[in-house]
């Protein structure tokens, strides 16, 4: 397996109380998959993502990417954050150059590459703007362009569209889906929005809180072109809704 999580356990102490963010979580992910980690707050989805990205360490268990234990963040795996993480004192071009620095791209090619990735996210000609001059959606697009410019193997996205309005969010969902098909990156996407998960994923990892665990893994057999109003789409969405209402504790692998 490309990404292997085995018996991952992570505990936090908050207000003197211990709580299990991850309780024996195991998960395998293939190269090129689009995976959504879906669940309510406190289910450990962000903790799992941060562990995969190397920002946090487990109490026990292991996380391996391409056979190697994850110990620290790497430029091979870029994380996109909810609040964009752009450096406000750098203009759009200089922010994207962070990704090019990571790849040690020579100066001569930078203009071209910068323009290429900005075009990919639909922001041609925005090189000289500063982050504060952009809308939230545009800032997240720059952040995605910066991530892609580093040419990573995996892109982690931590509720990347959570702070955006509904229309902007849908547009960005379309774009990230298109980008994932074109660039053939492994994408791991944290969200609490069921429809977003169904729209984007090859598989949805449904998680539950207290303790944080995987309840089931749902394959989404909808192909590469997705329509939110399509019958199959609604069917999968309803299945997930049902899953969250179910009381049963047993692990279910869905094949629709």
């Amino acid at each position: 397996m490309y990404i292997e999580v085995k018996d991952a356990c992570k505990k936090y102490v908050q207000d003197g109380k211990e709580f299990n963010a991850l309780d024996n979580v195991s998960l395998d992910i293939d190269k090129g998959e689009f995976i959504c980690l879906l669940g309510p707050s406190g289910c450990g989805k962000s903790t799992l993502l941060n562990t995969l990205a190397g920002f946090e360490k487990l109490n026990s268990g292991s996380v391996k990417i391409d056979g190697k234990e994850v110990k620290e963040p790497s430029v091979r795996n870029i994380t996109i954050f909810q609040n964009y993480g752009l450096l406000p004192w750098r203009n759009v071009r200089k922010n994207i150059e962070l990704g090019l620095d990571a790849r040690k791209v020579p100066k001569a090619q930078r203009d071209e590459l910068c323009a290429k990735y900005l075009k990919l996210v639909g922001l041609e000609g925005y090189e000289k703007r500063y982050p504060r001059q952009l809308s939230g959606g545009q800032q997240q697009r720059v952040s995605i362009a910066r991530g892609l410019a580093a040419d990573p193997d995996i892109i982690f996205l931590d509720e990347p569209f959570g702070a955006l309005d509904a229309i902007t969010r849908m547009k960005l969902q379309e774009d990230i889906l298109k980008i994932s098909r074109e660039e053939k990156k492994t994408m791991i996407f944290v969200t609490h929005d069921i429809e977003e998960a169904v729209y984007l994923s090859d598989r949805i990892v449904v998680m539950m809180a207290d303790p944080g665990r995987i309840k089931s893994i749902v394959k989404v057999p909808l192909g590469s072109h997705r329509d939110r109003t399509n019958e199959d789409f609604l069917y999968v969405r309803d299945k997930i809704f049902e899953l969250f209402n179910m009381k049963a504790e047993d692990y279910i692998e869905y094949n629709i």
Partner: protein, 252 residues
Amino acid sequence: MKKLISLKNVVISLAALILIWQLLFTVSSYDKALFPSPKMALDALVEMVYNGKLAENISTSMYRFAAGYLSSVLAAVVLGLILGRIPGLFKYIDPALQLLRPISPTAWMPFIVLLFGIGDIPAIAMIFIAAFFPVLLSTVAAVKNIDPIYLKVSKNFGITQPALTWKVVFPAAFPQIANGIHLALGTAWIFLVAGEMVGAQSGLGYQLIDARNNIRADILLATILVIGVIGILLDGALKLIEKRILKAWGGV
């Protein structure tokens, strides 16, 4: 239009100040050699401009100020950037800083004169001390306050030291550091004069003492005015530099 209104405020404010001064001169029973009028101070100023004394003392003072202030800011910012990133070490240094900080730079003066004698060094040392603590503490606080996401992103993109400090930590902390640098400018200018009154034989501070010794209150008051005007100019110049840097770094 806005500029015109603020110019009007300045003119009225200064006119009122001169008027009060003139009024006090008129009603006071002091000898006019001890309490001169605005006109006499102006004459003294013109005299100093013509005999070159003013330019000489200003350049002496400005040299000391630049040497003390710039070296202090540089040392404090560099040290602050380091200490802000190593909270474990700062814990042990902070108590000593808190002890030293409230001591007026003037209190060090006799000690500094004993060590270095009279000349440029006491005034420079005084400015150094005056500017050092506010800049150091504001830099440490600024570095501690950096949004952790900048550090997370840097780590993700493989930015390591020393680039991390120079390219990420410093610009992220700069607005707050600039605040400290700005406050320190005023304090440093105040203590330059104090330093020159005690530890020097030249400069604007010494000119005050010299004027007193010669019972030239007109020169004394003219010098005080010059010190005030230079203080305003320095403040304005620093504001301009700050604005430039903030603008270059995408600030407001």
